[in-house]
């Protein structure tokens, strides 16, 4: 009896250990063969929520989406627009009609040709409210797109028509100079209609997946990784060097750094802030620090009494913050202090800046004290404010620093409160805030993606800012086809915004990523895209 039990136990142990042998990823790494590196191991942050192009919204999912899908246009390593599935296009004089001519050699990963009808089908699905597509708004200039998303028009009234197999016409309600850049976003990719017909919403699962980008999905293991294989039918497959990609899901930056140091990753998604100085000392040649199209800010709830109708007070609060101290001492990872709402480096745009930049810090504090007193506050009657921030690296330190700056320079009475991210979001939506921490990441390389946040009807306008002059200027800019005039309109809008100070831009994000010396083709860019099709790896 005892022997039988012992035997059973042995078998169980053997199975437990044996079953782990290469079972999960199921193939030998070709890397080991002949010193050639053909598999790129990328750290990819958090778990992608979906690989359906209309349901992707996190950066992790979009990173994979940019490798496996291709839209009408594509982006070069420096973010400039290049032909994608569309080899060329015509734009009408009034900017309201775009005609795209698709390449002859654009194919799906099963050999089928990519047709204009695939695009038309995909766009309609994107704006269809039943799809729940987060990025439906990105094609809002297209005729009837907003009406369809709001449920007020039928899906087939969308201004996208397939004239024939290779010609797609897009009609707009207002000119959208940034449209070509938007059409490189994964949400605007075509869909393989036959796969959707047979598998419905499951079409993005690796066992069914058919895509038109440089890579195609082969495996998804939740909590571990996503694998993609080079698509041999991709029109420029000869220019794609890397054969296979493994995107590792590693939400914790410290863990990611460990695996990078152990040689298990070829490039990382980010770098832990706490270890940033160690990284600059030890891995400086492998570190890329570059400005990113996103702004970290504190928002005011303009419905909250002391802040309401009091731009002077809000500007005072903004002025006394020494942003240089925040970026250099509190954060220390190469971030840039904000001088405007829109980050620098955006296409065709020069941001308007805070008017108080001409003053030095002491002068700013003086002026701020004047504004503070003018608002009726003093040491006997201090301004009481609550800063809400979400749990995370650095957020608490920033909140502490700003609270102490407000206390020291103005004598205000500040408390800081930590909330879990979704709880904070709920508070922001309900207007249950006074000062809250948030950030905005640009969706495409154009100032409009920052300007539209503060439109009166914007869902992201958590400050509850409403200024009809601002709305009009931004709307006018949306209709303007002349680049210079458009820039000027947006700059005037931004100047109004900075003067009203509904938010306090604090700093611009920098991406800080590591890549091994043998990874080539890396070009720092403001959108922080590293498309695998442009990367290559030297062999040993």
């Amino acid at each position: 009896m005892r022997r039988i039990i012992a035997a059973v136990v042995m078998l169980v142990i053997a199975w437990l250990v044996w079953d782990s042998f290469g079972n999960r990823l199921g193939r030998d790494d070709p890397e080991a063969v002949a010193g050639q590196r053909t598999v790129l191991h990328r750290g990819n942050g958090t778990e992608p929520e979906s690989l359906d192009p209309h349901r992707m919204r996190s950066d992790s999912a979009l990173t994979i989406g940019r490798d496996i899908y291709e839209g009408l246009t594509a982006l070069a390593p420096d973010n400039s627009v290049i032909p994608g599935v569309a080899g060329s296009w015509d734009i009408a004089e009034d900017g309201l009609k775009y005609t795209f001519y698709l390449r002859d050699d654009a194919h799906w990963s099963n050999g089928d040709p990519v047709t204009a009808a695939d695009f038309a089908f995909a766009f309609r699905r994107l704006v269809n409210p039943d799809t729940g597509g987060v990025y439906a708004f990105i094609i809002s200039p297209v005729k009837n797109a907003s009406a369809i998303s709001a449920g007020n028009a039928a899906v087939d009234t969308l201004g996208v028509t397939a004239l024939d197999e290779r010609t797609l016409v897009i009609e707009l309600e207002t000119p959208a100079p940034y449209l070509l850049g938007v059409l490189s976003q994964p949400s605007t990719s075509p869909l393989h209609r036959a796969t959707l017909a047979s598998h419905g919403d499951q079409f993005a699962r690796p066992e069914h997946h058919i895509s038109n980008g440089p890579y195609v999905l082969t495996e998804v293991v939740v909590g571990s990784h996503v694998r993609a294989q080079r698509n041999r039918y991709f029109h420029s497959v000869d220019e794609v060097s890397i054969e296979e990609i493994v995107y590792h899901t590693i939400p914790d930056p410290a863990t990611e750094l460990n695996r990078y140091s152990a040689g298990e990753l070829d490039m990382t998604y980010t770098t832990p802030s706490a270890l940033f100085s160690w990284v600059t000392e030890n891995l400086n040649d492998e570190l890329h620090v570059s400005p990113q199209l996103s702004t970290y800010y504190y928002g005011f709830n303009l419905d909250y009494p002391p802040l309401r109708d009091n731009p002077g007070l809000r500007k005072a609060l903004s002025m006394v913050i020494d942003r240089q101290i925040l970026t250099d001492r509190v954060l220390g990872a190469g971030q840039h202090p904000a001088s405007s709402w829109v980050p620098p480096g955006v296409n065709n745009y020069q941001p308007s800046e805070f008017e108080f930049l001409v003053l030095n810090q002491d002068q700013r504090i003086d002026r701020a004290r004047g504004l503070y007193a003018a608002a009726g506050f003093s040491d006997d009657n201090p301004l009481k404010l609550e800063i809400l921030y979400n749990t995370g690296e650095g957020h608490r330190n920033i909140a502490l620093a700003i609270a102490s700056m407000w206390q020291e320079s103005l004598g205000a009475d500040i408390s800081i409160i930590n909330k879990e991210f979704r709880v904070l979001l709920q508070d922001m939506r309900d207007g249950n805030t006074q000062v809250f921490r948030s950030s905005w990441v640009g969706d495409y390389n154009d100032a409009n993606t920052f300007a539209e946040v503060f439109l009166s009807n914007s869902g992201a306008n958590f400050a509850r800012y409403s200024n009809s002059d601002y709305d009009n200027l931004v709307a006018q800019a949306g209709r303007e086809t002349d680049v210079e005039k458009r820039r000027e309109l947006l700059q005037r809008a931004e100047a109004i915004l900075l003067n009203d100070a509904p938010v306090i831009p604090l700093y611009y994000y920098t991406t800080k990523r590591l890549s091994k010396p043998y990874v080539k083709g890396w070009v720092d860019n403001i959108m922080n895209f590293q498309l695998t099709r442009y990367l290559s790896m030297d062999s040993d």
Partner: protein, 313 residues
């Protein structure tokens, strides 16, 4: 024994029901929902999403619907991982966590039993003190401290083992050590105390008088009775490994069930959290039943009316 098993299984049903109900309502009380983000959805899209996932219905209706699906074995789709169903996520996660947890428990048992027995037979001597001191450190140092240290030493400095991921037997070594270490310590201490008592008992003295000694004595006469307190501890040990695995899985990037526990709640993925809670609940109930059954096999006196561990002299 059969009556015990039947009894327990019947009791399990109301237990699981209460667990399900509490979790269901509690997670919906938390502010925020699965579709929140700084990039707000248009109101029409959000209305539709809520309709598709039945979040616009009254809570009791939603609960009834959930229970109806549950009895048919349908945990529903994940509300955050939009391409996955909850059963798939639990299935793939559990097969990984099971491997990790079972191996850790096994390692903890083997090493702990041996260490405890060695300490007991060398009671008062150097080896005893050394083993117990090590055990104390094992209990005191949390696994989120041990795990990164292991990674630093074995993966980065020595490059003997991988730093993370789950692709082969070598990937199991460090996580199993990290999970097992505290349990090794507890089991060693338990075994030592229990073994010391057994070694003093009359029937062991009688065996010694008959000339049985050394390994034969330990294995044939002492191990089974000394094992009883350890067996009772197995239930809490399994629970500790389950909760410890949440941290260890994150540090070693292992695609187990632990990640869904925490991340599911943070993502407000209602269906996934429900699925994981019910699954863990059922697991613990089954495991405790197993322990009780095993206990009666190890010590038949448990089933009879007498409950003392000393023979009447």
């Amino acid at each position: 024994m059969l009556k015990l098993a039947l009894n327990r299984t019947l009791l399990a049903i109301p237990t699981l029901f209460v667990l399900t109900a509490i979790t269901f309502f509690l997670i919906r009380v938390a502010p925020g929902g699965p579709f929140d983000s700084e990039h707000s959805l248009s109101s029409e899209v959000e209305k539709n999403l809520r309709r598709i996932y039945h979040l616009d219905e009254p809570l009791l209706v939603q609960f009834g619907r959930y229970l109806g699906n549950l009895v048919r074995g349908d945990f529903g789709p994940s509300m955050y991982y939009l391409d996955q169903s909850v059963s798939d996520l639990i299935g793939s996660g559990f097969s990984v966590s099971l491997r990790l947890g079972a191996l850790s428990l096994l390692v903890a048992l083997c090493v702990g039993l041996v260490a405890g027995t060695v300490a007991a037979t060398r009671k008062g001597r150097l080896l005893d003190t050394a083993v117990m001191a090590l055990a104390m450190t094992g209990i005191s140092i949390p696994n989120f401290v041990v795990a990164p240290l292991l990674v630093l030493l074995f993966a980065i400095v020595l490059d003997w083992l991988p730093a993370g991921g789950f692709d082969g037997a070598s990937h199991l070594v460090l996580p199993v050590i990290a999970l097992a270490l505290p349990q090794v310590a507890y089991i060693a201490r338990l075994t030592r105390a229990s073994m010391i008592e057994v070694l003093r008992s009359p029937y062991v003295r009688a065996a010694r008088a008959r000339g049985i000694d050394g390994l034969a004595l330990i294995v044939r006469h002492c191990l089974k009775p000394a094992f009883l307190p350890v067996l009772s501890y197995l239930g809490p040990a399994a629970a500790a490994i389950v909760t410890g695995s949440v941290v260890v899985e994150q540090i070693f990037q292992i695609p187990g069930l632990g990640q869904h526990f925490v991340q599911g709640a943070l993502n407000r993925d209602y269906t996934l959290v429900m699925g994981v809670v019910i699954f863990y609940g059922a697991l613990i109930i089954v495991f405790n039943l197993l322990v009780d059954v095993l206990y009666s096999w190890f010590d038949p006196r448990v089933l009879s009316s007498s409950a003392t561990s000393e023979n009447p002299s």
